[in-house]
Amino acid sequence: MNPSGQSRSSSNSGSAERPNGRSQVLVAGIGMTPVGEHWDVSLRNLALDAMNAAMEDAGGLRPDALYVANMLAPALSGQSHLGALLADFAGLRGIEAATVEAAGASGGVATRQAYLAVASGAVEAALVLGVEKVTDKDSGQVEAALATATDADYEAIQGVTAGAQAALLMRRYLYEHGAPQYALAGFSLVAHENAVANPNAMYRKAISLEQYSKAPMVSDPLNTFDAAPMADGAAALILTRADARQHSQSRPAVEIAGSAVATAAMAAHDLTDPLGLPAGAASVQAALARAAVQTEQIDLFELHDRFSIFAALSLEAAGFAERGGGWLLAKQAEISLNGRIPICTYGGSKARGEPGAATGIYQLAEAASQLQGRAGKNQVSEASVALVQCLGGAGATAATHVLRRVSNGI
């Protein structure tokens, strides 16, 4: 937490009403379960743990609507209709509830739906839950289910998987920018370093460049340390209107200052500029504009690092690096907790673990923790504005949020 209570961000009305008539939306509570191989926990129990934790964190606030971010339950658990199932299981029978699916961007897109509902005044408090249960099926089945996030008729049918697609982009990136073989190593190293102190992380171990360089190939040039491990996890947020927030909370309030979703061509071969991440760039610009925040004011960036190449592309698309310069930020340690633009501050998908549709919610919960000064050893000092982005597929969907600490409380 910033001891002086000063916010580095300029615009902060502190009022429940925004000039455009929309209500200010706060993150009133967060909940995260450890990411990992939860052999003995079912989808619904995993979800329940996160929902309960978020509601408790919000001072027992009971939500009026539930937005579930999930991609794989129909394919891997034989379960759709998660809205009704999980609302009931959480003791919220009767409330409005539905699933939002946008592949790896599901968490961010569900949060945007909840944000719109609360901001419009239609819903007073919304629960956003991201949950994914993958370890009940073997890796081939999981890989096939994940490949449904590509264009089934033109990509998946040719045998494209998420890893193969990322490897193609990585190969192109190294070629276009003349980057060396281990150019992206820094992303994996920083993620693992940041996961050491995160009790919810799957791999709480730092790794060395030597370990990275010796890792077996998944899909040349992408090795196992370029790929995040798919795992079970659930995370939840409670969003409320500022005037509905429990006044008992002593920690600083965090608002969703900007929220945007953009899409791009679904199939990678339909993108005129495959390394440009157009949806990522467009959603960042829109979210920053809504928040009236400049790139320079951002204190940390929770980005999508399912594969290391996306970390480089996201940094460039968001404007933190020149085109082709994203990997240099990793090399120059500018993405570390005390660097110019810290990323993956709790380990990211690489080391925290990658729970699919839940990832976007973990990112938002982690960013909110940073802004509230609750990040412990992972604390980014004086963090007051965070950019949070998750991607679906190879960037066909991008959901971006700007979180901001409300310095004077509500």
């Binding site: 191989e37 052999w39 003995d40 370890t135 073997d138 077996p216 190939m217």
Partner: protein
């Protein structure tokens, strides 16, 4: 509570004899990697033992049983049960055990049965034999764990699925080479590895075979046995676990508080592979080949599906007198003919010729 779970017969029981058998052919793990991964990736063992064209669980069981009988000095006609635990019984219907019993001269006044519990079918047979002898129903019962293990070509299991096993003749403790102080069995419905009826190769739940399966069952069984016998790892000179690869038994031993020098004597998996139902038992034979009177030994098997049998054993003065009556286990390991993947494919019937 745990005191009640210790199994100990009214009449003390021990191993009257023991015998190993390991076929001579070896397939280096690097050969499997050469064919399937272009030589990339880590290798779980050095090499595995492969049965020859004229070998199966029946012939190998007979070899081990003859070794066990030779060390015991007991006449085969005194045996009242011949039990063979395996995942590779040559017939789906028709016992392995009757052929073995006939071959060693234990028929016809004998019980004969085949056991199945993935990789702990052999120690199941030991548990049952303890009851048979311990109750006084019989003086001698033969328990065998033997496999020519299956692994689907290219699967992680193909590196390790080996061939071999051991036979133990259970008899009264007073004339045994090794006494059984007590045993404990732990079983749950845990579907980590299976082979359905009429299928050629087993399937497995990948990493699920580790923590909730192998480690949980072995650790619980070992803890429970030590707790109920009032022992700690330092009370044992040797320990042997089921050995699906080199890493798992070393790690579970360390987690339980055993030193590597307690584990290494019985750790045969790097040289012979995972002999499934024979794995922990053939490891025990290597320990009995060198143990001295009074040495305590802990054996914990693991069978997928899942369960563990844990045994607290103690070598008697007779062991060193009798063990030279049969070839020791190291001599089988050193009897080594390396083969390539093509020969392995032919030996194991992996080429479909019609």
């Amino acid at each position: 509570m745990s005191e009640n779970h210790l199994m100990r017969p009214n009449r003390p029981v021990g191993f009257a004899g023991y015998g190993a058998y390991i076929p001579q052919f070896r397939l280096p793990a690097s050969e499997v990697a050469r064919i399937w991964t272009g030589g990339q990736g880590g290798l779980p063992i050095v090499e595995k033992a492969v049965a020859g064209l004229d070998e199966d669980v029946i012939t190998m069981s007979i070899e081990a049983a003859r070794n066990a009988l030779a060390r015991s000095g007991v006449s085969a006609s005194e045996i009242r049960a011949v039990w063979v635990g395996s995942e590779s019984h040559p017939y789906a219907v028709k016992p392995t055990s009757t052929v073995v019993a006939e071959a060693i001269g234990a028929t016809p006044h004998t019980q004969a049965a085949d056991w199945e519990f993935a990789c702990k079918a052999g120690t199941e047979a030991i548990q049952a034999a303890i009851g048979f002898v311990g109750s006084g129903m019989a003086n001698y019962a033969l328990a065998i764990g033997m496999d020519t293990a299956q692994g689907r070509p290219g699967d992680a299991l193909e590196y390790t699925a080996g061939a071999g096993g051991a036979a133990f003749l259970l008899g009264p403790a007073e004339t045994a080479l090794c006494s059984i102080e007590g045993s404990y069995s732990f079983a749950t419905d845990t579907p980590d590895f299976w082979r359905r009826a009429n299928e050629t190769y087993p399937e497995h739940g990948e990493r699920f075979t580790g923590e909730p399966a192998y480690f949980k069952h072995i650790t619980t069984a070992a803890h429970s046995l030590m707790e109920s016998t009032g022992t700690t790892p330092s009370d044992f000179r040797y320990v042997v676990f089921h050995q699906p690869n080199t890493k798992f038994p070393l790690r579970v031993g360390k987690e339980l508080g055993f030193r590597e020098d307690q584990i290494e004597t019985g750790l045969l998996v790097p040289e012979i592979g995972n002999t499934y139902a024979g794995s922990a038992m053939v490891g025990l034979t290597a320990i009995l080949d060198v143990a001295e009177a009074g040495d305590r030994i802990l054996m914990v098997s693991y069978g997928s599906g899942a369960g563990s049998d844990a045994f607290s054993l103690q070598a008697t003065p007779l062991l060193s007198v009798r063990r030279s009556a049969a070839p020791d286990t190291l001599s089988y390991i050193h009897r080594r003919t390396e083969i390539d993947y093509a020969t392995y494919a032919r030996f194991r019937g992996k080429l479909v010729t019609q």
